[in-house]
């Protein structure tokens, strides 16, 4: 790390007053907001200096007036940018789990504690920037901070830089915030996984499936958590408002599939196993199967639906957690 980078890092740590993550809600008080000119602001200052020299040289009194007016505008720009950011309150909001390698979307609730509108606030978590166009007075808006997830487990929101150059683009006001917030990262599903373990584990009255599991076997009322692909949309129009049917397929009912850590080849390492199990869990869920998960030291009883899938994926994500 170069000395300059170290200095910058030290400044940033100081910027959040050494407490990361911070307790929420975070209020960007006046002491936490910094201002410095942007490149455009420096060009503006340089222009003003040249103009002032011209005005002095040609004794243009109105030239002095113009230059001083623009100086005042610069000061107003400092205050404007400062005011656009100061007294903004930050609260963690939603953050949905993602698979490793995807962008984790940390939702931050930006609450405008003042009556005036705020515009064009950029949020930068270090990996890409998102922009909030407008926050009405006394209102809040959710802004995403996208962070690329690299490995499974809990991903904490790193320090976020909030900045704005509004209204004139001449001055940048910024503040650092590190709200306590984390995102669950599932293992990345293996792209080349062995097929679902047919017949592995305990079979409970598994029947012959001559046509594979795609065979249509009738309809039943829709339950929350049924895979969307299995909803019988064609019949939806005939049913009363909001009611749906789910298509059932042969081989689906009464069959339990175990996704078993031990069933995988012994040569695979932990992450590869987790990756394959993730793929299996997703496939089993898509196929509408009833499945359970066995990990060393943990067993999830068979079930189905989104909630069950999430439990399985969470177990996989947090496997080996201290």
């Amino acid at each position: 790390m170069s000395p300059i980078a170290r200095l910058v890092e030290a400044f940033r740590r100081w910027g959040v007053r050494g407490r990361a993550p911070e307790p929420v809600p975070i209020l960007l008080t006046q002491r936490r907001v910094y201002v410095l000119p942007t490149k455009a602001g420096l060009a503006y200052a340089l222009t003003l200096i040249v103009m002032l020299v011209g005005a002095i040289n040609y004794t243009l009194s109105l030239g002095h007036v113009l230059v001083f007016l623009l100086c005042g505008l610069g000061v107003a720009a400092i205050l404007g940018s400062f005011r656009n950011l100061a007294h903004l309150s930050i609260l963690p909001s939603r953050c949905e789990a993602v698979f490793a390698g995807q962008d984790a979307r940390f939702g931050l609730m930006l609450h405008n504690t003042r009556h005036h509108r705020r515009y064009r606030i950029r949020l930068d978590g270090g990996e890409g920037v998102s922009v909030v166009d407008e926050i009405p007075g006394d209102d809040g808006i959710e802004a995403p901070v996208l962070i690329k997830s690299r490995k499974r487990g809990w991903l904490a929101l790193p320090r976020v830089t909030l900045e704005t150059v509004y209204p004139l683009g001449l001055v940048r006001a910024w503040a650092y915030a590190a709200p306590a917030m984390r995102c669950l990262v599932y293992p990345s599903p293996a792209s080349e996984a062995p097929p679902l373990p047919e017949g592995s584990g305990q079979q409970q009255g598994r029947q012959q499936r001559p046509g594979g599991d795609d065979d249509f076997a009738g309809l039943r009322p829709h339950r929350p958590g049924d895979p969307l692909a299995h909803v019988d949309w064609k019949s939806a129009a005939r049913l009363p408002d909001g009611a749906l049917n789910t298509k059932q397929f042969a081989g689906e009912s009464g069959e339990t599939l175990w996704l078993d850590w031990q069933a995988l080849p012994a040569a695979l390492d932990i992450e590869a196993r987790l990756s394959i199990l993730t793929r299996w869990a997703l496939d089993a869920h898509t196929a509408g199967l009833h499945f359970g998960l066995r990990l060393p030291g943990k067993e999830l009883p068979p079930g189905d639906g989104e909630a069950h899938l999430h439990l399985c994926l969470e177990a996989l994500a947090r496997h080996g957690e201290a």
């Binding site: 002095i56 040609y58 004794t59 002095h64 623009l70 000061v75 009556h115 515009y119 166009d133 808006i141």
Partner: protein
Amino acid sequence: MAKPEAAPPVTQRQTVWLAATALGAFLPLAPWLPGWLNALCLTGIVWRGWLLWRRIPLPPGWLLNLLAVAGIAGIGLHFRNLFGKDPGVAMLALFLALKLFETRTLRDATGVVLLCFFLILSQFFYTQSIATAALMLVSVTLATSTLIALQREDVAPRAALRLGGSLLLQALPFMLLLFLLFPRVSGPLWGLPADAGRGLSGLSDNMSPGSISNLSLSEAIAFRARFDGKLPNKGELYWRGPVLNNFDGRTWRMGPPRKNAADGVADKGDAVQYEITLEPHNQPWLLALDYPQRWPADALLTSTWQVVAQKVVRSRQRYTLRSVPSARIGLEEPAYAKREALQLPSTGNPRSRELAQALRARSPNDLALANAFLGRIREQNFVYTLTPPLLGVDTVDEFLFDTRRGFCEHYAAAFVFVMRAAGVPARVVTGYQGGELNPVDGYLTVRQSDAHAWAEIWLAGEGWRRVDPTAAIAPARVENNLAAAVPRGDPIALLARPELDWLRSARYRWEAVSNAWNQWVLGYDNQRQMALLQRLGLESPDWRTLGALMAGLGGTLMLALAAWTLNQRQRIDPLLRQWRRFESKLVRAGFVLHPWEGPRDLAARAAQALPRQSEEIAAICDLYAAMRYGRVIDDQPLDELTRRIAAFAR
């Protein structure tokens, strides 16, 4: 709504903003740019806006380059120069128009706005009137709003203009502070280009028939004077300009300037002190009332009693003088000066020379000779007119014996010629005579139409005596003004006519405003600044004091403005205020608030967390919920809520 950020290219609306700003910076400058360049720039700006509005692709790069090269070549041909003030401004306008076609990113766009600021500044080379200042405010508001639109491209035009205006209003106090306190440097930091003072009118260093009558048609102000005491009589208001000694048969010219041996005239008790605000005339001399006693330190008094500055007057100047109207000058004039004042071409104007000899023979002394000449003018029907006939080779002869119609320069020149031919040292003095007192602000306004020429003859034992031949033929010219002296129907300036009184009084008022502007805004210089600060109680302000004062006041101003902008706190709903108080009490008790929780859920959770106060919590939350979401007619429950929350123990 939040969205991932995109690269910032300049959008359609933003380019329209830029074109409007460019127009706002360019149009006030147009009267001073060559016509073809105006057409080119205007076409460029409008064309750019049009292409954009109709979403037509940009013209190819080679066409723009061609236009740029052609434009620069045109500027070079037009001004015969590429480096200088005028070609520089022209080039700036051209670049602005063409740069609009090259504006792709936000950075380019900011550059265009900065270029516009330069262009707005450059119009002050040509005019600094009140109207110009107003136009500048319009242009700057437009530019500021454009900067806003560059940040928020979806902003409504009115909102952008309002915000731009509000930012400029915030900038005003800083402008005032800097304007008053920023240390003023007088004079240029380096040499001005040669064309810095083109197109200024005024007296010149030579006089031929017709040169002053041309000037008399101009109502432009030559200078303004403010007297410390009583105004001298109108007949004493001879403002001395160039003294013309050399005659070549047609044109009178100024001789080489020499420093005056005497150090001004002695005080005779009737000295007048006055301050002159001289309009730039691109010549070195300063106008002074006859005869100067004190003059500015950076000027000098010549042997012909002219006050001459060291540098050409290219900007409005203010200086203080003291004169003694009744003084005698040149009592002991050296021989060479008298010789100079007798110089005539060896040939020409034979009839005038004859007349001189005849007058010489008849007159007992020089003064009688001069009076004899003036008497002759008075008696033979000479006419004082602004439109004299053109004169041929022997100008003096033709005027004295044939046409007999002339303006002051004809009379002065003929008088001096005859005096010299008769052996009396004489010289032509040009300058201004009279002036008009503005009753609104008490300044005496002297216009180009007050330009005048008179004569001085040297008499033994008396020195130089002023003789105004015009007074002999048209005494009203000296006692009143030009309009009273010339025949009706002469083409004098409209406002000099006596019948337009109401118009004149309106003009007095306007000129008083404009003079105040000149004195306090345009003429705010080092001296004015020091005088102001001394009046404010600073003994000897130097730049360090100014710097400290500026920093201190600027900082205070900024803090005040910051406090004002940051604490525009809305009037919060009293019910909500009480609820917030309750919430903060809970937080201080170690309870964690969830933003999504309503009062009932909060009550349930808080009652668990703080079991000892569960009843009170439930009561407060119920009351709040009832008031917030139920129907409440009077404020009585609010009082109860306030009381309960105040009593709520942490």
